[in-house]
Assembly symmetry: C2
C-alpha cells in the first residue's frame, strides 16, 4: 500500500500478527513431525501440476502428504489435486492477494497433523504479496516457468530473496521459447547467492526424482 504513516503502522500490525500466528503454526508442525513446504509463483507457472505430481510420487513412495491451496476463487485446484488421492483443502481468499498464517490454521483445523509426513501450501498466484507473509513453512519454494522470461528474479527480487529453493518449471518448453538457463540462473543468483535451482517438467517428469530426493533430505 502507500507510504503514509498510518498505513505503514497498520501494515506493521498485520505483519506482526501474522508473524505470531506463523510462529505458533511452526511450533505445531514441528511437534507433529510434519515437514511443511510452501509454493509461490506467478499465475500459470504450473504450481498445481507440479504439486499434483509431487503428491502422487510421495504417496507412491509410501509417504503421507497433504495440501492446502489458495486461490481468489474456485475450487478447481482442490479438485485437480484430489486426483492424487491425498487430503486437500481449498482456501478461497476473495480479493486477498496472498495467504496468511491464520487462513492456513483454519484450513487444517480438522486434520491430525501427526498422521502426515508432508504438508504443502500452494499460495495465490502472485510474485509480490506472498513474500511478506510467513506461513510457518520449513521450505519456501519459488517456481519460475521457462515461458515467463529470465528477468523475473530481477523484477521481483523480494520473493526470490525470501525463498529457500527455486524451481524452473515447463523445462520441456525451453527450446520453443528460447529459454536461456544460464541467464536465468545468473539472475536468480544475483538476487540470492547460492540458491539451489532445479529444472523440472510436470509433463515429461524431468527433474522430479531430484526434487523428491531433495525433499527427503531436507526433511
Amino acid at each position: 500500500m502507500t507510504g503514509s504513516p498510518r498505513i505503514v503502522e497498520v501494515r506493521k500490525n498485520i505483519l506482526k500478527r501474522n508473524d505470531e500466528a506463523a510462529r505458533a503454526l511452526r511450533q505445531r508442525f514441528q511437534e507433529a513431525g510434519v515437514f511443511v513446504v510452501s509454493l509461490v509463483s506467478s499465475p500459470g507457472s504450473g504450481k498445481t501440476a507440479f504439486l499434483e505430481k509431487t503428491l502422487t510420487l510421495l504417496r507412491e513412495a509410501g509417504r503421507r502428504p497433504a495440501a492446502v491451496v489458495g486461490d481468489l476463487a474456485t475450487q478447481n485446484d482442490a479438485v485437480r489435486l484430489a486426483r492424487s488421492r491425498t487430503p486437500v483443502k481449498q482456501i478461497e481468499t476473495g480479493t486477498l492477494c496472498h495467504l496468511e498464517a491464520a487462513m492456513v490454521e483454519s484450513a487444517i483445523a480438522e486434520w491430525d497433523l501427526t498422521a502426515l509426513d508432508y504438508l504443502f501450501i500452494e499460495n495465490v498466484g502472485n510474485l509480490v504479496c506472498p513474500a511478506s507473509y510467513d506461513l510457518g513453512e520449513n521450505l519456501r519454494v519459488v517456481l519460475l516457468s521457462t515461458t515467463e522470461g529470465e528477468d523475473k528474479p530481477l523484477k521481483y527480487p523480494t520473493i526470490f530473496n525470501t525463498a529457500d529453493l527455486a524451481i524452473v518449471t515447463k523445462i520441456d518448453l525451453a527450446d520453443a521459447v528460447e529459454f536461456n538457463r544460464e541467464l536465468a540462473c545468473a539472475n536468480i543468483h544475483s538476487i540470492r547467492s547460492g540458491l539451489t535451482v532445479l529444472e523440472t517438467s510436470s509433463k515429461t517428469g524431468a527433474g522430479l526424482r531430484e526434487w523428491l530426493a531433495l525433499l527427503e533430505s531436507r526433511r
Copy 2:
C-alpha cells in the same frame, strides 16, 4: 489485506484518494486529447514485448505514442521499450504490488500530453492487486498468455471483470502447450459476458494489425 474494521477503513481511504487522483488524470487526458491504455497481466505474460511492438507499429503509422511502465525493481522494461524510439518512463514501486494514479501523475509530470496521441501504462505483473486501482485510463486491457492455462479468468475474476478488452498473447505457442482457445474464451465470457478477445503473437506479428485497428477505432 485482512478484514478487521480498521483495515477496511484504511483501505477504503486509499481507494477513495486513488479514485480522486484518477478522476483528475482522466480529465487531463481528455483535455489533452490523448487516448490512454493500461495493460495488466501475470508476470511473464508478454506485456512488454506486446507494448514494444505496439509502440513501433503506431510510430510507423505516424501516431505519437508514449509509455509508462511499472515494476518493483529495475529499469529493464524502459530500456527495452526505448528501442521503439518513443518516450518511456519507468516507475519503480519498491515492494508495492500495483500502480496508483498518483505515481502515473508524477511519471508524466514533465511531458506535454498534447504532443501525444496514445499513452500506454504497463502495470506491475500481478493479476490481483491492480484490479482495484483506477489509473484514469480509457481502456484497460488484460493479457493472458497461452502458456498460463485457460482457467485464469475463473481464478482471477476481478481483473477480468474490470477489463475492457482481453488479449491472448503467445498464440504461436498454442499448439506446443495444447492451448484450448474455446475453453479460454468460454471462461473469459463466463466472468465478463461479451468481452472482446484478440489473439496475438509478438513473435510472429499475428493479430497485431487487428489490435491497431481496434485502438484507432476506440480512439
